[in-house]
Amino acid sequence: MSEHHVVVENLVKTYPGAATPSVDHVSFALPKGEMLALLGPSGCGKTTILRMIAGLIEPTSGAIQLNGREISQTPVHKRNMGMVFQAYALFPHMTVAGNVAFGLEMRGVPNSERGPKVQRALDMVKLGHLGDRRVTQLSGGQQQRCAIARSLVIEPELLLLDEPLSNLDAKLRDEMRDEIREIQSRTGVTAIFVTHDQDEALSMADRLAVMSAGRIEQIGTPREIFDAPANEFVAGFIGAGNFLSGRVTAPGQAEIEGLGPLRFAAPASVGSRVQLMVRPHRFKLAAPGPNAFTGQVESLVYRGQILTLAITVGGRRLTADLHTHAGTLPAKGDTVTLAVAPGDVTFLSEAAA
């Protein structure tokens, strides 16, 4: 336990008057300097977890430890956290520099040290020249950077980010994504990052917790979550997938309804029902053969490097992402064969027949 910087154990929050808990026995542990993304659909309890860690709301039960010390009873202002709010929540009556200096002032940092620290923090987020501006005169991206500088200048134990990118346009979002990641790894601050955008979570986080209805469905590295999703919810939430269910007819082989036999690389007892998934990018164009499905191209979307196509086989749709450099590309109405290697079939679950 002690090697972990942040430990959350069996955290539960039931809002007054609510029938079901909004956060339901959530546990995770985070080593120093790591960035964890909380990912899940709207209303699954991400913000609630963050607010409990910050101390803005009280947990119904459970423990939150920072550096091995229980902080559930510590008042908000003594927890030494930095937080970037969804709508930034900058102090509207202060300048950019005033906003950033606030936390230092509250910590009694003398004026002479405050100035250089504020300037360094502003330079880090590329707002060095705008210190005297009022925050109401900043663009969305600048406000967001100001909020980041405000939360980092106090050198917090833990940085909490609640969908910090959701108010930005797509281009700025990509820029800020890289920037936050870079700042986080440069300062080595432990961070928890809330998002409902899977790209954001995959590209920014060291580890990922996928949530649904107040519970953590799976926690792991982006790679683990993407390649070995624990269940159908996680598989469907992170990336697209062709979900195939069938009956195991022989070791490593299942009969998929409407498609025929599919080989996969996972132990499952003969006769049981299995849920399998093939990611669209795992399909390749091939000649008819084992683990290949032939059908007519129903739709095509050209995305530059990738061509997404859907074929119908035996009344069902399979989607595939093909690299556009792969020779001649199929056209709509063509008959093509998509093949997948057994090792590329994701095994999700097994149930007795």
Partner: protein, 258 residues
């Protein structure tokens, strides 16, 4: 066609509303020793007499002092009540809300009798404390209104951000909440000052000689004589109100523009 008629009606309405004030302004320059309209000849004589009248001058001074004290106290009380009403869910909240509204609904003459009956046994009639308490009764509802409005427009997340970044509850109030509701405080304070400065009905029941205010002195003066001095005094009262309102408008307007 109907538009011109409409404009004409509106102009007429304004004239109707402003006519008394216009008449008072014109009469204040009359040279005769009784109130009549229209005047025959004009001068600043009445104004000179007003400024030479020691009773009026000292009553004006007291009215300003009482108004300032009432404005300040009404803002402090209004802030505390508003914080409680906006930020906390407590039992009896609806009741407090209604009590604060009550002075809007009850005629001042009724309030005056009530306040007098309360203050008399406490020996507070004709004292600064008494008149200030009485004026607070009618001005606090206004400060609660304006401050509650300001408070409801303050984003809770901004206060939470201050808290997370190290501010104690008191520091949050001092550094975040207070500056953000300042326009409501100023507006409420000014309204309270003006109401106190103009109030006659309740004051007449509370004060007699020691802490008489300008409106009560005007009333006393009217009982014995009616001459253009009264008109001149009324114009000066109106002028004070207008100056205060314009000054604040400029002040807050300027702050907003920054």
């Amino acid at each position: 066609m109907s538009r011109t008629l409409w404009h004409f009606l509106i102009a007429l309405l304004y004239l109707f509303l402003l006519a008394p004030i216009l008449v008072v302004v014109i009469v204040s320059f009359d040279t005769r020793q009784y109130l009549a309209f229209p005047p025959e000849s004009l001068s600043f004589g009445s104004y000179a007499k007003v400024f030479a009248n020691q009773t009026f001058i000292s009553a004006f001074g007291r009215s300003v002092m009482i108004g300032l004290a009432v404005g300040l106290a009404a803002v402090v009380i209004g802030t505390l009540l508003s914080m409680a009403l906006v930020r906390y869910r407590f039992r009896g909240r609806e009741g407090v809300n209604f009590l604060i509204l009550a002075p809007f609904l009850v005629p001042h003459i009724v309030l005056a009798v009530g306040i007098m009956l309360v203050l008399a046994p406490m020996q507070l009639l004709d004292s600064y404390t008494g008149i200030i308490l009485a004026h607070l009764g009618i001005t606090v509802p206004y400060t609660v209104r304006t401050i509650t409005m300001s408070l409801m427009s303050v984003d809770r997340r901004v206060e939470e951000a201050a808290m997370v970044h190290g501010a104690t509850p008191f520091a949050v109030f001092r550094r975040i909440t207070l500056p953000l509701i300042a326009p409501g405080l100023i507006a409420g304070g000014v309204i309270a000052f003006l109401i106190s400065f103009d109030e006659a009905t309740i004051s007449l029941f509370i004060v007699s000689v020691k802490v008489s205010t300008l409106p009560t002195e005007i009333y006393n003066y009217l009982e014995v004589s009616t001459d253009p001095q009264i008109a001149a005094l009324s114009v000066l009262l109106i002028a004070v109100s207008i100056v205060v309102v314009i000054a604040v408008e400029k002040l807050i307007g300027l702050r907003r523009a920054l």
